[in-house]
């Protein structure tokens, strides 16, 4: 009974945080790409455009949802549902931190600690192909069909190097449960943490790079986003979708991005373990960063540029100092600090995704497919063989 209450509570919290984060990742993306391109990005709707996602949601909900008469209605309506469903399921096996004890009941920081957690993530990402293939086909439009088929072929081609890149750190971790994989990466020698990319017999740096490249292709992000680019094939498989159905595909893409960043953090970057050891003061990294952000806000609030900066920036400064104080409470430290490190690493990987989107051009489709089968797949195989050989040699 307690288990059910705890799980429902965790489900509500994770769902709320995830859906809000999806909207705000889009805000971060627009701001970062804008600053890379030396322009401002959304800045009108709220302070620094922070209410822009809200405006977008209102626009998408109130837009007229067109149901074209020539589509196959059942599959046209089912495709975005399927895409979002699969994208959100994979969050349920991702652990965010250590355990938390509320009122005597101890619960782990994840929805379900499945002992084949890695396989669940692979399974759900395999099933995500259906949403896109059906969306492309049901639109009864030759451009959508080609875009949908290309996107599905790309996703299943890159699943192979991704699975092989995932298999390599499992050899040293010895388990398929995501929590046990992270627990195998605790500790450090002197200043280098025991993360999988620095592991002793076989540093998993190549697996990490292969996984990130395959992740870009799995989530249809630049440089692999030919099937859904705006100026290719008239936006590919989602050209016939409008308002909320289009928003559903977009939400599915960002949720997939979050999932692969979380999986990369858990498998390769040590999950919630800190970058340098605790005895060298890594518990003070979180309050230090928040205090720094608060100081910047208050400084810019005092030397304000726009009239309402007098109010909003010091308010943000106070909020940041409050968060810094939260990380200094002794009871909260073992619970909040792992979550901070996990979210910091995931945010860094999301920033890398957005950075690459702003920087690189996109591959042509045949270059993309030959890169998967002729280069990435053999490299992933060789990497797995070398890792296995080194692990067997040492143990």
């Amino acid at each position: 009974m307690e288990f059910l209450i705890a799980t429902s509570l965790k489900l509500a919290i994770i769902a709320f945080i995830l859906l809000t984060a999806l909207a705000y990742i889009q805000w971060v993306e627009r701001k970062v790409i804008a600053h890379v391109q030396v322009r401002m990005g959304p800045s009108r709707v709220g302070p620094h455009g922070l209410l822009q996602p809200l405006a977008d949601v209102i626009k998408l909900i109130t837009k007229e949802g067109v149901l074209p008469p020539h589509v196959n209605k059942v599959f046209y309506l089912a495709a975005p549902v399927l895409a979002v469903f699969m994208a959100l399921i994979s969050i349920s096996v991702i652990p965010f931190g250590t355990s938390i004890t509320i009122m005597g009941h101890k619960t782990m920081m994840e929805l379900a600690d499945v002992n084949v957690g890695v396989l669940v993530i692979l399974a759900v990402s395999s099933m995500g192909v259906y949403g896109i293939a059906l969306g492309g086909w049901a639109s009864n439009n030759k451009y959508s069909l080609i875009g949908g088929l290309r996107s599905s072929a790309q996703m299943i081609s890159y699943e192979l190097p991704m699975s092989l890149a995932i298999a390599a750190p499992l050899l040293s971790a010895g388990s398929l449960s995501l929590r046990k994989i992270v627990n195998a990466q605790h500790g450090s020698w002197h200043l280098i943490p025991h993360w999988a990319i620095f592991a002793f017999p076989a540093p998993q740096i190549f697996s990490f790079i292969i996984f990130m490249i395959a992740a870009f292709a799995e989530t249809n992000r630049i440089p692999f986003d030919l099937p859904e680019a705006e100026n290719e094939l008239v936006a590919g498989f989602h050209v016939e979708y409008s308002s909320m159905k289009f928003a559903a595909f977009f939400m599915a893409e960002y949720a997939n991005m979050v999932t692969v960043c979380c999986v990369a953090t858990l498998l390769f970057l040590g999950g919630w373990h800190p970058l340098w050891p605790v005895r060298w003061g890594s518990n003070f990294a979180a309050p230090a960063i928040f205090a720094f952000a608060g100081a910047i806000c208050i400084y810019h609030g005092i030397n304000y540029v726009r009239p309402f900066d007098r109010i909003t920036l010091p308010a943000f400064g106070v909020i940041f100092f409050g968060c810094a104080g939260l990380f200094l409470i002794p009871q909260g430290v073992p619970v909040l600090t792992p979550i901070f490190w996990f979210l910091a690493k995931v945010s860094f990987l999301l920033f890398v995704f957005i950075w690459i989107r702003a920087t690189l051009p996109r591959f042509r489709y045949d270059q993309l497919m030959s890169f998967a089968w002729k280069f990435l797949f053999p490299v992933a195989l060789v990497n797995l063989l070398v890792t296995g050989f080194l692990v067997a040699l040492v143990s």
Binding site: N115, V116, L119, A123, S126, Y130, A133, L145, L149, I156
Partner: protein, 167 residues
């Protein structure tokens, strides 16, 4: 009790989706119903203590083989199947006979084994990936290697068959 509930739910879903595979006119509806059958069978494998096989079913069968089927249906633009020469006699007598046969088969199976052991979730811990991999790479190593040659032959066959003719 919860076992019974899950079994009842997913067995019903599996049978309904299987009937849908056979009954639907458009091949894509049949393909998606088959995916539904495979997903509910994966849950039943989990109940039977086979987590690795359940995930392999979804990754390999539902996530790769059925995607291939869906691709081919989309590429060939397969339409609704036109039934010609349909005999009403076969339908009126055939479908009840089939359902009767199924019912008799199921009842016989249940009646012949009245005290079959009860399957509880968690009573077979030997289906984990570790035990599976251990058996696969020690006792069943030869079939494993032969299977990899089989897959290679299948890849060669598929590539040769689906190639464009060089004129």
């Amino acid at each position: 009790m919860v076992d019974l509930l899950f079994f009842g739910l997913f067995a019903a879903v599996a049978v309904l989706c299987a009937i849908n595979v056979v009954v639907q006119k458009h091949p894509i509806s049949s393909a998606l119903s088959l995916v539904g059958v495979m997903a509910s069978l994966a849950v039943l494998y989990l109940l039977l203590g086979a987590p690795f096989i359940a995930m392999a079913q979804i990754i390999v069968y539902a996530g790769a083989v059925m995607v291939l089927f869906v691709f081919v249906i989309m590429l060939l633009n397969a339409g609704i199947e036109v039934r010609r020469g349909r005999s009403w006699m076969a339908t009126i007598f055939g479908i009840p006979a089939l359902l009767g046969l199924l019912g008799v088969l199921a009842c016989l199976l249940v009646r012949w084994f009245p005290d079959a052991p009860i399957v509880k979730f968690g009573d077979f811990p030997g289906g984990s990936p570790r035990d599976f991999g251990y058996a696969l790479f020690t006792q069943y190593l030869l079939p494993f290697e032969v299977t990899s040659v089989l897959i290679l032959i299948a890849i060669l066959g598929a590539v040769v068959l689906a190639r464009k003719e060089l004129d």
